[in-house]
Point group: C2
Chain length 352, copies 2
């Protein structure tokens, strides 16, 4: 496999800062699309992977899976893209393509495991994949998305992870104009959940512990803000919601939210993987046919659907643009939730 | 309200045996159906209520909510029944009839609380309702079910609780011929879940810890039996099931069952109300869009649908008939799981 060097930003160890390095990209094969990366969103997963919070990080690690850019080259069998097109890449760059999940456009649930955009096992090179903190990326066209031309390009980047992660459960659980949707937590995922649920016509509420977020939540489209620590605000919403998108990324008590579900409603965890403590109590679930579920990003077809929907409804992320060289400071600020609502790296800064 | 006395079997205190007593039934009002009770199933809830295990029992308590019998009298506005008809009553005898749940035939999720067949608050008398361990019951026709004539009548009784409790989630989660359904636990609920899932055309597996139940489970219709304590049997079913009906009535670890769900599958708790301990882990739920849900009995229309289905498919419960006077012994045996699979009281024994 012939390769070439591109500049990237990555880390050599869990406790090391990210810094500039060179990585190899393959020359396009027949189905590949080469993309010059213009902007890359900064997801919490980037930070977790860089620091090996989940274990399994292979170093050097180059994060970034909210990628938008322009096609520079395509393989001779590529049909969806040509040089000059806008293009995007999200959390996956490959999957088995043959299992029952893949055949049903659910590559995120590939029974043989999808290939993550970074720290995945690259089928071409045999080593780990490198993400979007780099000049270019080369991806099979099946995993490359079309980008609506009418949207602000840097603000599109977070749609590729924060957007699809909230869009997929909204769609799977049939959110529409008669739906009452609540969002738990107002961060990168939460602010997208509000915008997308509102775009789908739902009545949208935000659960937050922070009264100071009220004004911003309304600006983003929330119809109601509920301070979850205030019993007087929680009581009136008991039994109200058809769907709750819980974006909180750390362990928290979900029982109070379950009581706010309508019968047959579902609370979907999209941010937290781990033991549910305090323990989930099944009594309100049984007595109201309520569900607690999880959901992981979304399939490629669904991601395209989401991007097209955002184009039609003029939905993008609220971002703060940074230079590649500011990434370590950005990580430190993310740990303090000091970002509204997503950092996006201007990748031209890597050329300097 | 004019009333009359009927013989019943009930208890005066949590630690007292059940014994014969007299209770009042109202004379039929315009919408009422009076039923001579021929058989009454014995549900675990009967025992829990008699002994005040859940708190809130009002004494004297007369259990029984798996009632079949023959109509003896109807009110002048009753249209569905006439004297001489077979009829059945399940877990509910009333609800508000006006809330959004009731309007959608989901009386079990009545927003104002349904009236339980026993230990409910009777809207007519203002006191507690008395269940089916009695000669007669008087119930608004909306809550009275038609019984297929072709079925063995005593074996129909358990359909009114054990049957509908498993039917409702099977239907809500769209069980059909392409479904892979697993049942956890082989008792009153579990044996009905196997029969009904099989009747709906699903491939049915039973999870049990007891190898001795294999033969009986196959006889009931299970295609596969999985000994849940045997890792070698659990591993091959990882990711297999679309729906798991978990009938276990005590605290147990559901995490091993969640791993056997197919992506987008649901585990439904129908037997256990309480904290989920060991703690439920959300990681496999997120990575496979899996749900953990609860479900409570079923609505009246759905109960009728289930009875009609059982008539068409010749499905009834496996029962052991007892006399009313044997109820205390039966409760003792139920606590040792010594019943295959439901006690049914021959109510003519109460006349003696």
């Amino acid at each position: 496999m012939s390769t070439y060097k591109v500049k990237a930003f990555g880390t050599q160890a869990p406790d090391a800062d990210l810094k500039q390095m060179n990585i190899e990209r393959r020359d396009v094969t027949s189905k590949d699309v080469e993309i010059e990366i213009l902007y890359c969103g900064v997801c919490h997963s980037d930070l977790h992977t860089a620091r090996n919070d989940w274990g399994g990080t292979v170093y050097p690690a180059v994060p970034g899976h909210e990628i938008v850019g322009r096609v520079t080259k395509v393989g001779n069998e590529v049909t969806k893209f040509k040089a000059g097109d806008l293009a995007a890449v999200g959390c996956m760059v490959d999957s088995c393509r043959t299992c029952e999940s893949c055949k049903h456009d659910l590559e995120q649930y590939c029974l043989n495991g999808f290939t993550g955009t970074y720290n995945g096992k690259d089928k071409h090179s045999g080593t780990q994949t490198f993400g979007g903190y780099s000049e270019k990326v080369v991806v099979d066209e099946h995993f490359v998305l079309r980008v609506p031309e009418n949207l602000d390009l840097p603000a599109v980047a977070p749609l590729l992870c924060a957007g699809i992660t909230t869009w997929s459960p909204l769609r799977h659980w049939n959110t529409g104009e008669s739906s009452k949707v609540a969002v738990v937590g107002l961060g990168g995922l939460g602010h997208m959940a509000i915008k997308l649920a509102k775009g789908l016509g739902a009545e949208v509420s935000l659960f937050t512990r922070t009264p100071g977020k009220t004004q911003d939540a309304k600006r983003l489209g929330a119809d109601h803000i509920i301070i979850s620590t205030d019993e007087a605000q929680m009581k009136p919403v008991k039994g109200k919601f058809d769907l709750i998108i819980d974006t909180v990324p750390y362990v928290h008590n979900i029982n109070p939210y379950v009581t706010t579900l309508h019968h047959s409603g579902t609370l979907v965890l999209v941010g937290y993987l781990g033991d549910l403590t305090p323990m989930l109590n099944s009594a309100p679930m049984v007595s109201g046919r309520k569900s607690v579920a999880g959901s992981l990003i979304g399939g490629i077809a669904e991601t395209q659907e989401m991007l097209d929907f955002c184009g039609e409804h003029h939905i993008v992320s609220d971002i703060e643009m940074i230079k590649m060289q500011d990434i370590n400071t950005a990580y430190a600020r993310m740990l303090k939730s000091d970002v509204k609502y997503r950092f996006v790296i201007d990748m031209t800064s890597l050329k300097n």
